[in-house]
Symmetry: D2
Subunit: 406 residues, 4 copies
């Protein structure tokens, strides 16, 4: 059987040149698959045509924006998905969706191989390949940048050699991945950790120092899913787009971090994720009101583990699936409205209301009408601390340093 | 033996009136103990004298600012101590120190009882009493607000009845606890969760919208301990004071949250903690550079558990002590400088440098000089995902929904 | 409204005398509710009649054996429910079911109070009362042993005083709770931790040293639920009864432990749980074959937390519910057979088979036919250890002790 | 520089033939390093001589039994080190010690390479190589079985070809690794999971059904370290040897499990670890008496994570080091005696005594003299369950299924 490579095609130089290169290396042909994940930029039809121009036998474009919002961004909101408490998994959640469509295209078009443009140093190769193998291990995987040490210079040389009809843009210093959920930027300049990011890095957010007027927003959730903005019912996609735009105007969601990659190294990353950051913040604030204490404490561990699984490319793992079941059950009552004030780089929660609130004015108030039985507290405190008391007594009796002394 | 009550004395109306009240209820006398924890406000000598005026047989004032900074705030920095990912444990870490000095005073002055002014609905009663019993379970504990249902109205009536030489200030709507590490405010108005905080709540921070000029600060750590600001060596106390002042000017560190109290209810709390928030942020950024991935992942769980223990009044528990040992060991290499830009309510890390960095330019860079062996990645990815692959294959073979489908 | 107390009635001396005592103390009357949870012993009709003889206005007996097996024991199997890795939650899982029926009886018979016979030192008071309040907080709770300091001596004196028609058995030295899932024994003799248990403590198990012939058993599971023994389809109740009998004959399931009670003290407990121990062991062995590594690792944490929740009386907590969702999802493929050899106090797993096994002979074998790609391992090992390698290198470079040296 | 390979030499056929083979493949020479870890069997001097006979330029034997017992087995006891709750890490803890001596030998003898005999499918390659790189990343690693696909058949053919003076024993069906801490057996026959182990697999334990007379043993610990048996002070090595012998006679410590290897596959393993199992069981029983509840609960998680790290080859990781610090602190009071009865495959704890016990007869007893304040319990129970009560009430009010209903 001759090879047919289904390629995750972005429209950029590297994957464009990869089309003839993969054909040459495998002796087969190439099907280009491009997804619209809300990344903006170029018209998707131009992207589709370029793949054909570069020699693809088929080139398809899939509008996966709603699917991405509903099945990938929304679960991330429910899980308050943040790697290292900071990074809202922008690229990490897009890879499983891209691979889903590539595997489907392989089945439709008789693909024997799947291919992606990632290098061997990053997380995305892991996310692509684990997801491919989870869905169809019979597909062979080719990662030219890693497996053939295929670099930009080689790509340009090869494009010239075969006279490929593609403009070579002036080399950008940035390596960018962007979608509805955010934008990731890597660049040589940032590799010195003491350098601050420069203004030209940003595209999804305005400068927080611009002095734009504050913007108040009310986000409504049902069972953990965002369903309305300022009282207007909207789809998850529409909500993420609107919050991206409005939070971006306020300069919210810029991230600059040193990140622990799965392959064992630390890297410097700059992200923009205005909508993701505000939606997760709002969701957490609503959980604070509607989720019971011990469930909330354990859910924080679960959220962290979920985020690690997704970051580590294990979207399709059985563990993630069981974590999802936990999280889904926890969202039963996460319904209500959160009001935020967005301004100058910061979103501040200023109000919460929920028909399923666990906050009880009558229990919490110090005013008259208080229904809390304070006499219960004395015994509670005594037994709550009893094992600590006995342990310190033991230490004193034995002449050991007590916790109190140490 | 006649009673002698050692009272945690703040100088305010409630604990002032408590002096004669406790004497009356126990038939004994009262020793007032006041700590300077950097709470500012009134001169401590006036506080001391007032206790005597109200009938205390002894009144002592202890300057515990350095002790608080070094033995309570610094461990909180090492543990990135945040309850519910938000609250830097402002009151929670002060109670164990206050009880330490009360227990010492009881030993010095022959105290038979210890007393605090907390109600039966909050966390502070737990923190006081568990700490008392951990250190000296022979001391009896009296909490008049809880045990005698002692309210402000009763206090005022009693003060008039016995002609106590104390001014009754116009009743403030706020209940406040403040120290070097931050400030906590409760008030009836906030008990409606939809109400935003009002400007008069704040004292440690200026309005972030004031348009103050940005402030760049470099904080240096050695083994997780802050040791210098802008290159100037300082004590922890001096550093916290300086960062409080400078971050406060920028409106940084205002918190408004719905909190899960240990006694089982949710409450609305407003905090200001400019120094705490910036120092923990800087410390976390330095950990990102100097702490290995798996240690960092596990330390996040440990930090969360540490914060729960401290919030829950278990400063003296054996578990906290073992968590401390873990954290202490993890700080071995947390040495270096973090540069932050503070402005308009936000602190942003803009640079990190450390002689003990785990970040390696040579490994991370995509430029020439790269020392990372990309060929290793292919096998890594394959085995990293193997158990997920096998599991999905099993599900497909059995006709079960796979992780990929679900 | 006059009081009507719905009492958890065991038929024993204490709860029998409690009937007239509660009537007297509340000025109302008493409804006795007894559950058959497979505890064996006395005929339930005699129990029912005795309550009436002691003055109950109603006395009902509920056969809850199947309900207990299906809705309480089976979830414990799925969760491998063991407190402190040892105790299979014998009493802990029965209390929520007893309270369910008491609350239903209160609704049916117009009860205003519910009552149980537990003291203030144990866990069962917690389990009863938290479950009552979770289901119907309007019911008042009376625990005479704790709230009225009602002791056995007082009970006997009161029985004589009112001429209660009840035989006073010679005081047993044992305090016993038993049901289908096991048997708990407390006794003064065991309060010295150096004393071994005596033979007369045991009733569910024979002496393991008796020399009974070994017994081989095959237990089959579907989605984590035991469904057959030795190939015969049976209900959970039937399976637990059979395994109790057969494992009990082999002396399996005797436990002697020092236990951390929720109220803050340690206690010595002796249990017998032959069926529970063997069924959980078999279930774990089947999970080892059918559950993927990382899911299995995380499930062990989840199982431990589940067991703590149930032990701590929080069967009705929202956290338990979300943990249940995780566990339920994890059981999707826990289907297959486990063969055990039971003999002389020990059950040993000697075989596993499952159509949903993740074990692959072709991958695991060292024989020819091996399909595992060993070349992948070299790169895997390199990147798996890379962050540890870099960290040790950093320590060496800095003159710090490395992990290798310490 | 010409190559010098420092080889982990066992004396068996594979590593014997590896000596000339590695010399040939690298064009250098070979230094053989053999460790006495208490594995018994052949005289170590014969082993040493055989390496020379096979062409090694140096052959050294190191008696590392005490070092292994003190620095590897004892920490495993403190951590109750069990992978998957079953396997006491027999091989896993030996690899870091072997690599330590190989790295030292490389430094002493000018080694450029280190080599081990493991395949690419197991865990031991990971443990060897991560440990090598943690200690000296400049050493090149050769794993002939994996990197050269070097099999037993090839080894025998090569031995004949070069006329190597080594007897070819009749091929044993077993692949065995053994040391002081236990014994691991793999064999083709076990690769069918339904097959029970056969009697000829075992060497460290006798058949539990032999009817040997019971043996009572008292093991004493100081700060978690075993220090005496039956009142006789002994070294850790002596204690492990004695418990191995006595527990082995009773048939204790046979394990048969399906194990999750780090490389992503499941494998069937049979182990014998009589001393390890009994010492850890005794240690856990002493912890139950001397470690406070919440510390004990968290330590169980820490122990599990420690065991995973060690199993996964990460003995030298920074995380393991911080986990060690936690565990070390937790052992402060783990001092006392545990009495066990060993018989017919089972060890049963029958007594505990400790001067640092947290068990208090006066608190636990139901007899007169009880010092536990039962009145405190009522309030404790109320607040302990309050958040669950409120949450169920919320669900009822909202018409949602409550935890009680679901």
């Amino acid at each position: 059987m001759s090879a047919r490579v289904v390629l995750a095609y972005s429209g950029g130089l590297d994957t464009s040149v990869a089309i003839p290169y993969l054909a040459k290396m495998t002796g087969g042909d190439v099907v280009a698959v491009s997804l619209d994940l809300g990344q903006g930029g170029e018209d998707m039809e131009s992207v589709r045509q370029r793949a054909l121009d570069c020699g693809a036998v088929e080139s398809i474009v899939i509008d996966a924006k709603d699917e991405f919002a509903e099945n990938y961004c929304v679960p991330t909101i429910k899980a308050n998905g943040m790697y290292m408490k900071q990074y809202p998994l922008v690229s990490a959640i897009s890879r499983p969706l891209i691979t889903k469509h590539l595997v489907e295209a392989a089945q439709e078009f008789g693909g024997t191989h799947v291919s992606h443009g990632c290098t061997g140093k990053g997380n995305d190769q892991v996310r692509f390949e684990v997801s491919f193998r989870a869905q169809d291990p019979s597909l062979e995987i080719i990662a030219p940048a890693r497996d053939y040490a295929w670099t930009r210079d080689k790509a340009i040389a090869f494009a010239e050699e075969i006279n490929l009809p593609i403009e070579q843009s002036a080399s950008s210093p940035f390596s960018i991945d962007q979608n509805l959920w955010g934008r990731a930027v890597e660049t040589g300049f940032l590799e010195d950790l003491w350098n601050p990011p420069t203004k030209d890095l940003y595209a999804y957010t305005e400068d927080p120092g611009l002095g734009n007027a504050p913007d108040e927003i009310i986000i409504s959730f049902e069972k953990g899913i965002p369903v309305a903005v300022d009282g207007q019912k909207k789809s998850p996609l529409q909500i993420i787009e609107e919050v991206n735009r409005r939070a971006g105007t306020q300069g919210i969601g810029r991230l600059d971090m040193v990140e622990d990659r799965l392959v064992g190294i630390k890297s410097r990353e700059v992200y923009e994720a205005p909508g993701a950051m505000v939606l997760i913040q709002a969701h957490e604030a609503l959980e604070d009101v509607t989720v019971e204490r011990e469930l909330a404490r354990y859910k924080r561990l679960t959220d962290a583990r979920w985020s690690e699984e997704v970051y580590d490319g294990l979207w399709h793992s059985p563990l993630k699936r069981s974590l999802d079941a936990f999280i889904e059950e926890s969202q039963e009552n996460v319904t209500g409205d959160i009001r935020l004030s967005m301004h100058a780089g910061t979103a501040t929660v200023t109000g919460r209301r929920s028909g399923q609130s666990l906050y009880s004015f009558d229990l919490a108030t110090y005013d008259t009408g208080d229904t809390f039985d304070q006499t219960a507290a004395k015994g509670f405190v005594q037994l709550h601390g009893l094992s600590t008391q006995i342990s310190n007594q033991r230490d004193r009796d034995g002449g050991f340093p007590t916790s109190a002394q140490k």
